[in-house]
């Protein structure tokens, strides 16, 4: 994805020695069911089940 706007310079208040600053956590995620179909799901499942056959899935 390419976003069609440009990144600015840091604001004046930004202290020169800092490279990052985290302010808030994202809103607490809610649990929901994903559907167990399709190759993207299988890749997800494979990461959870360390079984032989699933680890063989996809080259």
């Amino acid at each position: 994805m390419v976003l069609d706007f440009l990144l600015p310079s840091p604001p004046k208040s930004w202290s020169a020695d800092k490279t990052s600053s985290f302010h808030a956590k994202i809103t607490t995620p809610t649990k929901a069911a994903i559907e167990p179909v399709g190759r993207h799901f299988l890749a997800h499942a494979r990461r959870h089940i360390h079984s032989r056959t699933f680890s063989e899935d996809e080259k």
Binding site: F22, H23, T27, T30, A33, E35
Partner: protein, 543 residues
Amino acid sequence: MESVVIGINFGSSNSSIAVLAPNGHFNVIANADGERMIPSVVGFSGDEEFSGTQALQQAVRNPKNTLQGFRKLIGKKFEEIKISSDVTHPDMVSKDGVPAYKVSFKDQEHIFTVPAVVTKQLKHILEEAEAYLGSKVTGAVLAVPTYFSEHQREVLAKSAADAGINVLQIIQEPVAAALAYNFGQNPAKGDAQDKTALVLDMGASSFDITVLSVRSGIYTILETAHDEALGGDAFTDELVNLVAQEFKKKTKVDVSSNKKALLKIRTAAEITKKQLARSASAPCSVESVAEGLDYHGSINRLRFELASTKLFAKCNQLIEHILEKSQLTAGAIDEILLVGGATRMPKFQSKLRDIFPETTMRLDQESDEAITVGCAAQASLIAGFEKEDIVASTKENITVTPHTVKPIGVVGSNDEFFTIIPNHTPLPAKRVFEFGQAAAGQQEVYFALYEGEQDPLPPKKEKVEKVDIGSDDEEEDEEEELPAKPTYHKTTLLAEVVLKDLPAGAKAGSLHIEATVHVDVSGKTSITLREKKSGKQVRAESA
């Protein structure tokens, strides 16, 4: 032995079978009678037992021994079901609390429970598949409606196993359809990978709607709604009434309470209705409707649509209802996936256009084949896996995952919010995107990540429901606005990251900064900024 796996759509009125063909496409295969839609009907006549096309063919002659609509009854208790026992329906009894059909067969009364009938139908499907393929079927994926309970799924699985089918997986119908339409599975470069679809499935007996989101190829059902009385059958009923009125006009014979006569008309009306999807009028002929009198006439599509005005309005209401329930504007729906034979009605589609003028309406799949094809696609995906692994992958510890509640994104120069990770995204999630840096010679870039919120929807105008005469509604929506694409504004600053020491002397917009945002299952966020040419990068992670 080579494994041949199939997809089965066991619908309440039609069943179908699909397989992966050598050319990589999924084919819906025809039964011995040349039909791709195999009626979900079982019948008994004399010493013979029929399924599918042949069972339907003898239905009008032999209604008391012809079983239809049994899929709905799977896993239900006898007390829970409505039975319409009359001259045109078989008798039903309770066998240990399970609904069962009482039929006469081989000069004897026989009782067949619903699961036993389901087994007969599925066995027939399996035999048709094996006859066509010329080999044994090693496994199948089936689909069920979203409102099927766990118990109903179990009863179906057991019936299928009794039919000799190795059930690899039972999946949800709208999700199967989404796979068939390849919804969000492999987005072309530049296409959004995060989308929302409205799956509209109108079969014979019900109208099922699902709001489905896809995030990096993974589906989440956001909302469902269904109306069990709103399906192709209800539309056929309107046509039956029209024909009965015409017949009365011509012959003075009133058949409105003659069930056998209505059943005969129904068979003809069903064919006429399908023809009306393609032409502006269609013939309807019924031999010996009543008192030895035939009916030969033709029905005009507009007339049928007018008679169905209330039904079409109900369809719209259910759609509006689910949008409201899921707090989505029509503009927030990226694609409409049409499923089920009855969505072929031209008026159904033109009414949809009115609600969703901007949405991509997918017509690149036969609507009544989408579920089967999706099942076949899933079957061939998992064919090589061990059964235990497939079962394990559908357990809650794998399918129930945290999802984002609010969109995460960046803000452009005029405060416009660009979503990077939308709401309803299963975690962990990772998105990569690219920017240019701003001013010439700029050697440091600043990146701020926000959480956002959808802007309030414009107040809904009360619409006066006009009686629609089927005249493709051009006058109506003069001053009506298009349904708004949802917009967002920033609410919370999550993180700021600065990438320093960029190559000196670059022209404005000539450096390309790649940003990677990763959110893990607990909501922990990491951000990486990298200048693509120099490889210069910075990575930061929340506590």
